[in-house]
């Protein structure tokens, strides 16, 4: 059984996704349990694999017993293992959170929702752990399709947003596939490790250069890198509140991780074309950081504000890749983890507020600390983390990025990072001002206010768990970095 664990991480949620609509015919509670069980199994497997990988080294799982480079393999090195744990954990937390939102829906609809949710998780997990570039495309599309459908579940405007996202997303995936095609044409293999070997003398050939450009564009669209981010604000704003946390928190990070894999593991990062590509990406990301933060300040809808903020945050990760030394890469990986938790937490809070008072405009958030004290407390922690104040998690990932930038002498990025922290402070403190200070002119109506707790427990507990997670990731980031991340980045330890 233990040898099959690497496959189970992906296969169990997949099986559950296929079973969910059937089970839903019997009872909604059963399908909820099925989802949570499946994700729990995935979580436990992921953690077990992580521990095993840290002790014994990289784990390779060959599907069907076919050895690479002919077969498809899953590669579990420290980087993909920790990412798998991250996704499984966030998926589990959000799945629990989704419960109350689906109470009013018909049984079949609930089953479909959970099925899509599980498919999204499968796609993301698969993208993380696969060792084959075409397999990555397949999982990319699986997660994207599930994502489109989950976004569309949010209402009528959401359907349009989902359709437009579908068009752009497919363009992105096609670019990526084209890039993979060039790589295949040039090397004859699709296995990442094999590609890494064969590509070494080929790095300057025109086929590889075109491949790099295609892959940058493709992944850039998927992770909403400036200026390819146009789909993101609408998609995150109108998406079904139960799923937004997973989509916004995690789905945009996985292509960034894929970029890390491509440019540092598959290709040689110091080679001419890759280096130039990373420089360009870095500049675009820096522009995205500033413009994303400024646009966020101008927004009235909380979720749209968070969406523009995500554009900026992805920029940090790409800047980390662009700087390229081990400190900056540690910062980038740490920021992937931190931001996933932070953004998911923020979207959970937004969903919670929507649940309670039906509002998502920031100016209607007045005096929420009386109605939702714990939720707003978590909002404070998440806001402080996004701004980057110690000892929350956000400070430390920015710290590593700044250190990496200074070491390379790239003061430009230092200025950008610090400037954006101040910009983040503006719009986050404005929310906090509204929540804690302003008096509401009219009585804010409660839509759902049952029970002794401010929100149903299924929603409150995930919010608090993620909030505590931000604090824990911050305070204990040192063991995280030295035990795990240090071995995850290329070049091993520092």
């Amino acid at each position: 059984m233990r040898e099959q664990l690497p496959a189970l991480i992906v296969v169990v949620p997949l099986a559950a996704a296929l079973l969910a609509p059937l089970v839903a015919y019997f009872s909604k509670t059963m399908v909820k349990l099925l989802t949570i069980m499946a994700l729990l199994v995935a979580n436990i497997s992921a953690v077990t694999v992580l521990i095993q990988v840290l002790n014994e080294g990289t784990l390779n799982y060959h599907f069907g017993g076919w050895a690479p480079p002919w077969g498809i393999e899953y590669v579990y090195d420290p980087l993909s293992s920790i990412m798998a744990v991250l996704i499984a954990f966030v998926a589990l937390v959000v799945a629990i959170y989704a419960g109350p939102f689906l109470e009013k829906d018909a049984k079949f609809k609930t089953g479909i929702f959970y099925s899509l949710f599980l498919l999204l998780s499968v796609g993301l997990l698969g993208m993380m752990v696969t060792g084959d570039v075409f397999n990555l495309y397949v999982f990319l599309e699986i997660s994207s399709l599930a994502g489109y459908a989950l976004i569309a579940a949010g209402g009528n405007r959401a359907t349009v947003a989902a359709f437009r996202y579908l068009l752009i997303g497919t363009i992105g995936a096609s670019f990526y596939l084209l890039g993979v095609g060039y790589l295949y044409g040039a090397t004859g293999t699709l296995n990442m490790a094999d590609l890494a070997e064969i590509l070494v003398p080929l790095m300057d050939s025109s086929a590889v250069i075109v491949a790099i450009v295609m892959i940058v564009i493709g992944l850039g669209i998927k992770m909403a890198m400036f200026p390819l981010h146009g789909w993101q604000p609408d998609a995150y704003t109108y998406s079904h509140p139960a799923a937004t946390a997973l989509i916004a928190g995690v789905m945009a990070k996985v292509p960034a991780y894929a970029a890390l894999r491509f440019f540092f593991f598959v290709m040689v990062a110091s080679a001419g074309p890759v280096h130039k590509a990373l420089q360009v990406m870095g500049l675009l990301a820096a522009a995205g950081i500033i413009i994303g933060s400024i646009m966020a300040i101008a927004q009235k809808d909380f979720r749209r504000m968070l969406a523009y903020s995500s554009v900026a945050q992805i920029g940090y990760i790409i800047v980390g890749l662009a700087i390229g030394n081990s400190l900056a890469l540690i910062g980038a990986v740490l920021h992937i983890i931190n931001h996933a938790i932070m953004k998911s937490c923020l979207f959970l809070v937004a969903g919670g507020v929507k649940w309670r008072i039906g509002e998502h405009l920031v100016e209607k958030y007045k005096e929420l600390n009386k109605k939702l004290p714990l939720t707003m407390g978590v909002l404070i922690i998440a806001a402080l983390s996004m701004v980057g104040l110690p000892p929350t998690a956000g400070f430390f990932s920015k710290w590593y990025l700044v250190l990496g930038a200074i070491e390379e002498g790239m003061w430009f990025y230092v200025v950008i990072i610090i400037l954006s922290s101040l910009l983040n402070a503006i719009y986050f403190f404005r929310i906090l001002e509204n929540v804690y200070m302003k008096k509401s002119d009219q009585e804010v109506k409660d839509i759902n206010s049952d029970g002794k707790f401010e929100l149903p427990l299924q929603m409150l507990v995930p919010i608090i768990v993620l909030g505590l997670g931000i604090l824990i990731l911050g305070i204990f980031n040192e063991p995280l970095v030295s035990q795990i991340i240090q071995f995850a980045i290329p070049g091993g330890g520092q």
Partner: protein
């Protein structure tokens, strides 16, 4: 004379005790007011007990350290108690006790809202202040510095109305931006020198960078601290922050926050750059000019203010620059005077603010023009106000004189006569903007105050205590916590000279 280093966890407890209290306060809430206040009092006494228990060791020349905590790559948090840190911490912890009693009186007398948040934030602020005082390196200092900013924000916006929010925003803008500049300078230092550990006499030398680079670093670092210390032109947040309740203005904006800024300047000048290096790159002179400018201009502005708290705010701005001036003179007596002024000004200013708060709660008056003749009904309050005013002006036998005397002698030691003129001029200006208040309080006739009597006991007793201490320390500067000795030892360690000529008391 390398000090002996003792490993101990008391600095950590000093910081943590009020964090624990803050959580307890939040949990108790409005349900049981007396229990909630008890947490504050217990934490205050406990903190002071821990701090003062370390005093004999520090006076004996030893340094107490707690084990470093390795938080991230290059970030080592460590707490260390040396003479300068003990000075600041002793002051803050003692004054917290006094302010806590005063706060209870003020909050209940004025029937303030949001009291739980107030007391909890206050506790966190004091934890941050202890952290600042006991920081062993630049990064620890920065972490607690930012924590202080965050923790004081809820206190500044306490009233939650439009004016409070505006002042809060201004406060945040000033402090966060300067904090980022501070951070850049700190990172730069770490990269240039490989460490950020405070060392008496400084650890940076000309080998660590060109003169121009060191000057820019000093500039950034000073801005970070100078904003909190209210040096002009970065003082803008302080008068607006007076919208906060008076105990906040008293302890935080007369003692904790602004003194943290001054303490920061002390650490930067004395323990990072050091007098030798600063003399070589000539940067401290610029700081001294800003300080002198601030002293004069703030006094002039103070004379124009009718709102009592705003007048006291500008006075604080000026008085803080005494500390900055003394420290930037970099002579032994200048350093001694500057550091002792941290203590002296704290006691005097807190008395003044306490009186302002008492007048507000009892007679509901904020503006000086409405306070004529109030002394008849509130003699003790206005009497304490008079004593503190005389001290600010520099009258002998009150503690303010000692620090000014030393700063003046320090200026002489450095051969910089101009500053003595500045000191004398500002003393005269101080008497013109503070003493008339007392005069009008006692000697002008008015029928307006027949309804109210003297202030409440729980506000009056702290006033009397701090005023008395101002006088006692003026006669016996080493009474109690040996503040004078601590300041002397710190100055000595910075300048490495064995004898202090003249000066003292």
């Amino acid at each position: 004379m390398t000090p002996e280093i003792l490993l101990d966890y008391r600095p950590l407890w000093a910081v943590l005790i009020s964090l624990v209290a803050a959580i307890l306060i939040l949990m108790t809430g409005e349900k049981n007011r007396n229990l909630r206040e008890t947490w504050t009092i217990l934490a205050a006494f406990g903190k002071a007990a821990i701090v003062f228990s370390m005093l004999p060791l520090v006076l004996g020349g030893k340094v107490i350290e707690s084990a470093p905590i390795h938080v991230a790559y290059g970030i080592i948090l460590q707490l260390r108690v040396d003479t300068a840190g003990m000075l600041f911490a002793g002051l803050a912890s003692f004054l917290w006790i006094v302010t806590s009693f005063y706060s209870i009186g003020y909050m209940r007398g004025h029937n303030e809202k949001h009291q739980t948040g107030y007391f909890a934030s206050f506790a966190v602020c004091l934890a941050a202040t202890m952290g600042i005082a006991f920081s062993a390196n630049l990064l620890t200092f920065f972490v607690f510095y930012e924590l202080l900013t965050i923790a004081t924000y809820p206190l500044v916006i306490h009233k939650r109305d439009a004016e409070a929010i505006r002042s809060g925003r201004k406060y945040l803008a000033y402090t966060l931006i300067s904090g980022q500049l501070f951070l850049v300078a700190i990172i730069w230092t770490y990269i240039a020198a490989g460490t950020g550990d405070f060392q008496a006499g400084g650890f940076l030398t000309l080998e660590h960078g060109s003169t121009r680079m060191l000057q820019v670093m000093f500039f950034f670092m000073s801005i970070g601290a100078a904003v909190k210390a209210g040096v002009m032109p970065f003082h803008g947040w302080l008068p607006d922050a007076m919208v906060a309740p008076t105990p906040v203005s008293a302890l935080l904006h007369a003692v904790a926050v602004v003194k943290a800024g001054a303490f920061g300047i002390l650490r930067v000048v004395g323990y990072v750059f050091g007098p030798e290096l600063l003399g070589e790159i000539g940067a401290a002179d610029v700081l001294a000019w800003f300080a002198a400018f601030t002293i004069i201009v703030s006094s002039l502005i103070a004379m124009n203010q009718d709102n009592l708290k705003r007048r006291l705010a500008f006075s604080t701005v000026g008085q803080l620059s005494y500390v900055v001036l003394g420290v930037s003179l970099m002579t032994p007596l200048g350093l001694l005077g500057g550091m002792f002024h941290i203590i002296a000004h704290a006691f005097m200013k807190i008395t003044l603010f306490f009186c302002a708060g008492a007048i507000l709660v009892t007679a509901h008056k904020e503006n000086i023009s409405e306070m004529h003749g109030i002394g008849k009904k509130m003699p003790i309050t206005i009497g304490a106000f008079t004593i503190a005013s005389l001290g600010i002006a520099g009258v002998p036998f009150i503690v303010g004189f000692i620090s000014k005397w030393n700063i003046a002698l320090g200026a002489l030691q450095g051969g910089q006569w101009l500053y003595i003129v500045v000191l004398i001029g500002s003393a005269m200006l101080a008497s013109t903007y503070l003493l008339p208040v007392a005069y009008m309080g006692f000697f002008k006739k008015s029928d307006k105050f027949t309804k109210y009597g003297e202030a409440r006991k729980d506000m009056l007793i702290p006033i009397v205590i701090t005023a008395t201490i101002s006088v006692v320390l003026g006669i016996l500067p080493n009474f109690g916590a040996h503040f004078y000795d601590l300041a002397t030892m710190s100055a000595q360690s910075i300048v490495h000279s064995i004898e202090l000529i003249g000066g003292g008391w």
